[in-house]
């Protein structure tokens, strides 16, 4: 038998994880389900979206929620020409970090812009909600370029 005859077999790793979210992320997820985006105020006054459970500077627990806008600016982005199976969209799209109006940090999500030429840093984008929402980050189906740009 040749040395090259090494046996190879498929090995599928599949787990249906269920994550309990606790009070802070739970409130954020509840907001998404209800069509609302809430951030949290950090000790230095910044509004963090998505909300952090603990202050990034002092590490103390945070609990002061602030509702933010449903539109904002793209701070950086990457264009995907060939979406991969787990990606949220099946057509070419952009990953983007988006700073929502009223927030001081950026949220990672996708922008359904149709074509790379429609994308630009500092462009404004707006949430497009999923029809049936359950309280998870995918309740935001995507962001789309804000009209009138």
């Amino acid at each position: 038998m040749a040395d090259t005859d090494v046996l190879v077999a498929p090995n599928i790793l599949e787990y249906p994880y269920t994550r309990t979210v606790g009070p802070v992320l739970g409130r954020f997820m509840t907001g998404l389900r209800d069509g609302r985006i809430e951030g949290i105020r950090a000790s230095d006054g910044r509004v963090l979206v998505p909300p952090a459970e603990y202050d990034p500077v002092t590490s103390e627990s945070l609990d002061q929620f602030v509702e933010v806008g449903q539109a904002g600016v793209v701070t950086t982005w990457a264009w995907v020409t060939e979406p991969r199976p787990p990606h949220p969209l099946e057509r070419p799209f952009a990953w983007a970090l988006i700073r929502l109006d009223g927030a001081d940090t950026a949220l990672l999500h996708v922008v359904d812009a149709g074509d790379e030429s429609k994308m630009a840093t500092r462009m404004r984008v707006r949430v497009r909600w999923r029809d049936h929402r359950v309280g998870e980050i995918q309740d935001i189906a995507c962001f789309v370029p804000e009209e009138g740009q």
Binding site: V6, A9, I12, E14, P16, R27, T30, G35, E136
Partner: protein
């Protein structure tokens, strides 16, 4: 929409993950598995301590050296210890109770885990002599499942001293 008290807050999210991997058996293990198709059990001898490993993994873990010399061992041996499995769990393919045993094959220096059948679970015991029941040749593949299970040979039990070092 701002009244959060009217509906249950979200307490958990579902996060399924599916990743498709390949599993490679490695050279030594592959040769062992392919020999099972021919009804043979291939082992490897350590060049330093002389111990015979089955299933072979290409290395003697105690010495940290490659094992290249191949030897064939018998398809019968002694149950050194075992467990009667009586618990149900996901992905289980066997019906309970079943016996999972450590079997010291004749000619080997380390036990091999396999099933004991054709005997009531409460009759299985340490020192019991067992032999492999092979799948028909046309159903065999490069897997330990080519040995369907082990069954008692009817020989007298092995003396405890003959296998106590190998549990």
């Amino acid at each position: 929409m701002s009244d959060t008290d009217t509906v249950e807050p979200v307490r958990s999210i579902r996060a399924p993950a599916r990743l498709e991997y390949r599993f490679t058996a490695g050279a030594a293990q592959s040769r062992f598995l392919r020999h099972l198709v021919e009804g043979k059990i291939l082992a490897q001898r350590c060049p330093q301590c002389g111990k015979v490993y089955v299933s072979p993994r290409g290395a003697c873990a105690a010495d940290g050296v490659a094992t290249r010399e191949e030897v064939e061992v018998a398809d019968r041996g002694t149950v050194t210890t075992f467990c009667v499995v009586n618990v149900k769990f996901a992905q289980q393919v066997l019906t309970i109770p079943y016996v999972s045993a450590t079997i010291l094959l004749d000619g080997a220096d380390i036990g091999l885990m396999h099933l004991i059948q054709e005997v009531e679970a409460d009759q299985v015991h340490m020192g019991m002599r067992v032999e492999a029941v092979w799948s028909p040749p046309e159903e065999r593949g490069p897997t330990l499942e080519s040995i369907r299970y082990f069954r008692p040979t009817g020989e007298p039990d092995a003396a405890y001293e003959s296998y106590r070092e190998y549990v």
